[in-house]
Structures are given as C-alpha cells and as structure tokens.
C-alpha cells in the first residue's frame, strides 16, 4: 500500500541530489540539532571533568596536613581505601553521563511536542526512525564518546600537574609518566563505556518511549510504574524479583564485565580491574536488555509518527 502506483518522475539530477541526502546527512544533522538544543549534554560533563584537577590544585596550595601532596603524587604509596584521583574522575564522569542521559531522554520526545516545534521538524524530509535514532544516539554514543575524551584529558592534566609538582619538589618526573599505562587505560575505558551503554540501553529506551508518550510529568510516568510493581510484588508474594532485576540493570553491568569487583565502597577503576568481555557477552541479561531496548525504540518510532503537539 505504501508503493505509489505512479511515482513522480525524478530527473537524474534529482536522484543524485536525493541519494546524497538520504545516506548520512539527516542523522548527522539531527544529532547536531540535539546538541544545539541540549547544551547540558557537553556542559555538565565538562564541568565535572574540571572538578578533579581543581580539587588537586586546591589540595596542593592549601594542604590540610603536611605531606598530603607528596602522597597524592605517588599513587603506589597511597592507602588502598582512598580513591585515586583517576578512579574518582572515572566514577564522577560515568555518573554525570548517566544522569545527563536520563534527563535528556525524559525530555527528548516531550519538549518538541509541548513547544509545538514537532510541526516544524515534521515539515522536513527526516523520517521518524532517523529522529528517534538520533535521540537514542546521545546516551548510547555521544555521551560515552565525550566521557572517554574527557576522562583521558583529565588523566593527562592530572599527570601533568603531578609532574610539575614532582619537578618542583625535586625527584624526576619520569617515574610518574612511565607508571601511567595510557594504552591499557584507554582500552579498558573504551570497554567500560561500551559495557555501560549496552547494559543501560533498555533504560534509555524506556525513558525515550515514556517521553514520547506522556503528555506531562514524564519523570513520574517513567519511575512510578516500576516502583508500583515492586510494591505490589512485595505485598502479594513477599518477594522482590523485580526489584533485584532493576537493581542489577542499574548497577550489575560492571560486575559482569570486570573480573576484580572492587571492594564495596571503593569506586570502580578501569586501571586495575581485569576485563572479562567473554563473560559479559555470555550474560543472557545483556541480550534480553538489548531486545527490550529495541522494542522500546521501535514503539517510540511508532509513537513519533502519531506525534501531535500537546
């Protein structure tokens, strides 16, 4: 029914123009459009990334107790319980990216309906699939990529600061720079970010679906149904399967992807943990989650097609 019986006769020139137009540009420009509208996508992680070097700088010039700068400069001598600046930066930026992603998704398909701009976006030759994919790519690709760059940059800045501090204090900076395995760290970081994106994909998919469906209070619609199910399950059967399922969905990805689970309380550090991609890929929860994410996104595309100003 979708095939027109008599399509418009396109000239060869038209074909060339449109062929160039359909390939990648609508998706690329739609992602850029998201960054124009939601500047928090890069501003919040940027601010978070400056906090660690800033903290180090303050600790250098306003030491609480003598000798603290020296111990911070040498991660080997640091007590195990205290997070290293690098692992702290990693946790901070992972958390920031997750929070930004959650709030971005809740708003993504809602604001265009509430400000009526959906009528403008729909007047352009961009399919609903492209639009939803561009929005899903923010938490699944853009934020992880940004986090990767920012963490590396933070590590380099911290390393530089330590080198300068060591130079000022006396010993050669060479000992520090050789201790930082940049390649292994980049790989582990890339792996960790991919794991988190894949593991959290159904969460982002669900949030996008709710934002495309709810007329108002998208946050409540996203959060209250799972909470209600947990409460009913607890009262009716005195079990908490749904609760543990959601808990594992939120926090369980890391435990499956890295062998050395960090001691409770200590933040995750890709520098020290051992990668177990085989175990992660063999987790049924990963594939079930990705299946759910696909279903949620498919439903969001269908809803976008019906999308009207609210």
């Amino acid at each position: 029914m979708s095939t027109p019986s008599s399509p418009i006769p396109d000239t060869p020139l038209d074909d060339r123009i449109t062929a160039a137009g359909t390939a990648t540009r609508p998706l690329y420009w739609s992602v850029r459009r998201e960054l124009w509208e939601n500047r928090s996508i890069y501003i919040a992680p940027l601010i978070a990334a400056t906090l660690v070097p800033l903290g180090l700088l303050i600790s250098r010039f306003c030491p609480v107790n003598p000798g603290s700068t020296a111990s911070a400069a040498d991660p080997v001598k640091q007590p195990a319980a205290l997070p290293t600046p690098s692992s702290f930066a990693v946790s901070l930026l992972f958390l920031t990216a997750f929070i930004v992603g959650v709030f971005y998704c809740l708003d993504a398909l809602h604001s265009e309906r509430s400000d009526r701009s959906i009528l403008f976006w729909k007047s352009l030759p961009v399919s609903d699939l492209t639009t939803v994919l561009s929005k899903a790519s923010i938490p699944l690709a853009v934020l992880p990529a940004l986090t990767f760059v920012l963490i590396l940059a933070t590590q380099l800045v911290v390393m530089l600061m330590r080198s300068i501090a060591l130079l000022a204090d006396g010993p050669s900076a060479a000992t520090v720079s050789t201790q930082l395995p940049l390649l292994h760290m980049s790989l582990a970081l890339l792996y960790g970010l991919t794991v988190m994106a894949l593991w959290h994909a159904p969460i982002y998919g669900w949030l996008l679906l709710v934002s495309g469906w709810a007329r108002r209070a998208a946050f409540l619609w996203a959060v209250l149904p799972p909470v209600a199910i947990i409460v009913v399950e607890k009262i009716a059967f005195n079990t908490s399967y749904v609760g543990s399922l959601l808990h594992s969905r939120l926090l369980g990805g890391v435990a499956r992807a890295f062998a050395a689970t960090p001691p409770s309380g200590a933040p995750f550090d890709p520098l020290t943990a051992q990668l177990t991609p085989g175990r992660f890929l063999a987790t049924p929860g990963l594939w079930l989650g990705l299946g759910c994410a696909g279903l949620f996104l498919f439903a969001a595309v269908r809803l976008r097609r019906q999308g009207r100003p609210i």
Binding site: P4, F120, S123
Partner: protein, 290 residues
Amino acid sequence: MPCIDARGLRKAYGTTVALDGVDLNIEEGRILGLIGPNGAGKTTAMNAILGLIPYQGALKVLGRDPWTERDRLMRDVCFIADVAVLPRWLRVSQALDYVAGVHPRFRRAKAEGFLAKTTIRETSRIRELSKGMVTQLHLALIMAVDAKLLVLDEPTLGLDILYRKQFYDVLLNDYFDHSRTIVVTTHQVEEIQDVLTDLMFINLGRIVLGCSMEEFQSRYLEVMVNPERLPAARSLQPMHEREVFGRSILLYDRADRQQLTALGDVRTPSIADLFVAVMGHQAGQEGAAR
C-alpha cells in the same frame, strides 16, 4: 497527475467526525483557498495531506501515500502550520544549517537573500524575534525550497496588516511560478481573494462548494436592490439576502445578469459574502431537514 487526489477521505476522533467523505482533486499550478468556520475540518484535511495523521479513504499527494511516506513526500512539500512552530531555542544560522543539512532541495543562498531584505540577524535566537519576524524567517526557509506543493494553514494569524500584505506579495511575486501548487486556509478571506485560482468551502467535514475563481466570478452575482424592486428580486430565488444601510443586497447563483441589471447595481460578491450565504443556506437546509 493531480497534485492532491482524495476519494472518500474520512477521519473521526472518537465519536466526532472531522472529515466525512471528502473528495478533492487539485491539479498542479493552482492556488486553492480552503475556507470554513472553526472546527469545519480544514486543519484535519491539511494534516491528512501532510501525513501527520492516519485517515480512512484513498489519498495520494504527488502520487504518494502521505501517512506511510511522509519523509519522502516532504522533499516536495512544504508547510507552515497554524502558528509559529519554530523552536524558540534555535538560532537563525542553525535553522539554515539544519534545513540545508537535511533537505536536498533547499538553496541556502536563496534563503539568505530573503533574510537580507529583513532586519533578522543570523546570530539571533528565535525567542528574540518578534512574531512577524519569525513568520518572515519561516517563509524565507520555505521559499528557498524548490517544492511542488506548499501548504499554508493560517499562515498570517496574529500578524499585523503590513506583515500580512507583505506575506502574500512575496509569495506571489517571488515564489509562485505556475508549476507549483499552493493550498491555503485562512479566516482573513479578503486578503486572498485576488490571489486564488480556486475556492473551496468546507463545513462539518464536507466540501460544500468548490469552483475555480473564473467560475466564481461568472456564477455568483450580487445585486443592490432598490426597495421598490425587492419583490421582483426575491422572486428570482436569491441564495441570500442581507441589508446594508437600509438597502437590500441579494446574492444569486447562476442568475441571468441582464435580468439582474434591471433590478439594481450588479457586482461580483466577495468571497466572505458568498461564504456567509453558503453557510447560512446550509444551516437553513439542515434546519428544514430536521
């Protein structure tokens, strides 16, 4: 191939029937005015044509099914919806970048040329522009697209007279070239009377009148009748009668012009007068049916 071809187009929201079996056939190169009271189904018809809502019945726009092929259709169709829908956070330069990035038929230089004639700066955000400027911007974006069909739903709503006049002047002088088709709905009927090539009245989801402007001008006549001739004038079965400054004005459909000239001053009615007459006529018929 007709530009828009609808057969038995129907759309219901719950129990409310917004479109009740509409047949439309709009050829290329026409400027159609779709006119009707609030809630008549104008916007629903537009939304169906633009692929924004599902519908029942057969509908082809430029040979395509709008509901299943909206994104492909939008390469050849432009529209301005009833009120300013440009997002307030967008910058003018970003609007140009985005449309140029996704629309294969957009000519950026042309849009910039239009904007150069206005006071709009490319660095401004849309929230900083006045309502008239936002409409100018939207018009500049749309006129730089080499589209086959342009749909305007109350495009000048809320604009002052200067902007409204300029809107249609620009549209006619710089855009319309007889290979494009324009469909426009508006309540400001007088403004588009000289612009249209075709006229269509819609009420309660049905087309109640459809004719070309040539037909309109030859078919409908209005006579300002002197009081003593009124009984004779009424015997010719006018569609509508109204009084202005104590003199009766009678509107006729397919009457003999010479016969009417004997009764008083004969002239072509305005679209607004015909609209009132047709709607009143219809209401009367429905009342009689009940």
